[in-house]
């Protein structure tokens, strides 16, 4: 039962993802890609779990830590760079002032 429910969660998450993006203006394709990319770094949670559950197994701790590093590189860098791009777009209102 639990596994079936997880499959449902997978299916519904996918359907939701399909629905969430309707029309995107071309100007936003790149920032949206970059933002979604940052979100895909959510694997950091898996890396964290690995470290916490490693129970002193040093090789596992190292693998987990490296994995966490990669994930956070993706997440932090991704969000920052998206913000930088979007900051360029949103000069509109600041110029109108």
């Amino acid at each position: 039962m639990s596994f079936i429910s997880l499959l449902w969660v997978l299916l519904l998450g996918s359907l939701l993802g399909l629905e969430l993006i309707g029309k995107v203006p071309p100007t936003l394709h790149t920032p949206l890609m970059s933002g979604a990319n940052a979100i895909s770094g959510i694997t950091m949670l898996a890396a964290l779990t690995l470290i916490v559950k490693a129970e002193g197994n040093v090789p596992l701790l190292i693998i987990g830590s490296v994995s966490l590093g990669f994930a956070l590189f993706n997440v932090v860098g991704g969000f920052f760079v998206t913000d930088r791009m979007l900051a360029m777009f949103s000069r509109k209102p600041s110029n109108k002032k």
Partner: protein
């Protein structure tokens, strides 16, 4: 069902809600920036949820804390520095790099779990459960490895570190890739059958598959490929979610995977391409060298920078059409200097921005904003198109396909149907490019043959620098 479980559930739920809102908001201009921050907040929230859950139940050992802190600090630091430092022209490769690292992270987690099976806290361990575990580990490794190597190849090609080898354009590549795919499949089933050693085979062949698929694709198609690989990294995250039994990971991964797929489709459409031809058609530019040779130009007028400067001096209204070539030449700052000069002599200057001009969709807006072009001067295609007939001079800077009149007139053209800028309706058009080679689509540009079009050959940055000199000599912009 104790308190930590409930708290974690509520936090996870909130995080998913905010992530969904974030993805949705990122697709609207008004809300995009806030949405990005919202998503970032949701991600930190999810970390807090996870850590507090473990603190509340099994606890977190000091040793674990140390490794957590080391990993996070190094990763975040490098990420933040790169994100701050990288120039706007290198956005595509930066996104590719980040994406690849996400894939690598999923790959490592799956490897770790596979090599050192951890006690998952589930008491009722049964065969079925371990089967699911092995399937999700394999999927995570497979997709993670493809994402990683594919993204790194994409980055290297975009950076110019890697060119497209000739053999990858022949049919041989399909055969090679099929071999890799079959080998992955064998390793996959071997692994599920309990043969743990084949894990390394899986890692290697899926890495090779990622390289083999991405290498033949031309640089101009890279945004689509990166978007697709981004979708993959979502799938890898969802698979990792099955490995560590986290619904949050499954939902977030699935959402990103599906949204990435849609975005890939939308992007393809915006560039008048199909996903299949991007993935299996090989490099467009490789094909085009042939076809562009056959397109014969009959009526080319070439002119010097000096002539161009003279015409500009006499103009009242000038429209600039920046394209891919401008981005490659990184000439946006030089361009800004030229337009400043023109403006100072009272000439009205406007930039016409085609949605897919540049190296990525929306790239041109970012580049010009970085060069401090005032936002009011950037006009979108639909807004600026009616203005061309009343324009004296159009400067086409390293743009080609986006100003090709074939897209409107010639229904047999592969470009047919793509919206373009109607530059030919202006009085005079100057096209600044290095030679007669075709653009991204590899198609002859009828614009170049028109009587009111003159070509100014040379690298965009060099030509613009020369232009500044000429304008200075003419006393333009020095009241």
């Amino acid at each position: 069902m104790n308190l930590p479980v409930i708290i974690k559930f509520v936090i996870d739920l909130l995080a998913v809600l905010l992530l969904a809102l974030g993805i949705k908001g990122l697709s609207k201009v008004k809300s995009a920036r806030d949405a990005n921050r919202l998503a970032a907040f949701a991600m930190s929230l999810s970390v807090v949820g996870l850590l507090s859950y473990y603190l509340g139940t099994s606890g977190i050992a000091i040793q674990a804390w140390i490794w957590i802190i080391i990993g996070s600090i190094i990763g975040s630091l490098f990420g933040a520095i790169l994100a701050k430092k990288v120039p706007m022209t290198s956005m595509p490769e930066t996104v590719a790099l980040f994406n690849g690292c996400g894939g690598m992270s999923s790959l490592l987690v799956a490897l770790g779990v596979a090599i050192f099976p951890i006690s998952s806290g589930q008491e009722n361990f049964d065969f079925f459960k371990s089967l699911i575990n092995e399937v999700s580990i394999s999927v995570s490794i497979f997709v993670g490895a493809i994402t990683f190597t594919g993204s790194i190849v994409a980055m290297a090609k975009l950076q110019g570190w890697l060119s497209t080898p000739g053999w990858t354009q022949s049919k041989v590549r399909h055969f090679v890739n099929i071999v890799f795919a079959v080998a992955s499949l064998i390793a996959f089933f071997d692994l599920i059958n309990g043969n743990t050693s084949s894990i390394w085979l899986l890692v290697i062949v899926s890495s090779l598959l990622g390289i083999g698929v991405t290498l033949p694709i031309g640089g101009a198609d890279m945004p689509v490929v990166i978007s697709l690989l981004n979708s993959y990294s979502g799938i890898a995250a969802a698979a990792a979610g099955f490995v560590v039994d986290s619904q949050l990971l499954i939902v977030a991964g699935a959402m990103v995977g599906a949204a990435g797929l849609i975005l890939t489709q939308v992007m393809c459409k915006g560039m008048n391409r199909s996903l299949v031809s991007v993935l299996f058609g090989g490099s467009l530019s490789a094909q085009s060298t042939a076809s562009s040779g056959s397109g014969e130009y009959t009526n080319i007028t070439s002119c010097s920078v000096e002539e161009c400067a003279l015409t500009l001096e006499a103009a009242n209204k000038v429209i600039i059409v920046p394209g891919y070539g401008l981005a490659v030449a990184q000439a946006q700052h030089t361009l800004r200097e030229v337009t400043k000069k023109l403006e100072q002599s009272g000439i009205e200057v406007v930039y016409a921005i085609h949605p897919v001009a540049g190296r990525m969709p929306g790239h041109m807006n970012v580049l010009l904003a970085e060069a401090d072009v005032p936002y009011e001067q950037l006009k979108e295609m639909d807004v600026v198109n009616p203005d061309f007939p009343a324009t004296d001079v159009v400067l086409v800077l390293g743009a080609n396909d986006v100003v090709n009149p074939q897209a409107k007139n010639d229904s047999s053209s592969p470009l047919y149907g793509m919206p373009v800028l109607d530059v030919q309706e202006a009085r005079t058009v100057f096209v600044i490019k290095r030679g007669m080679s075709a653009g991204y689509s590899g198609i002859k540009n009828d614009l170049f043959d028109l009587p009111n079009t003159s070509m100014v050959f040379g690298d965009a940055k060099k030509v613009l620098n020369d232009l500044i000199g000429e304008l200075k000599d003419l006393g333009v912009g020095e009241k």
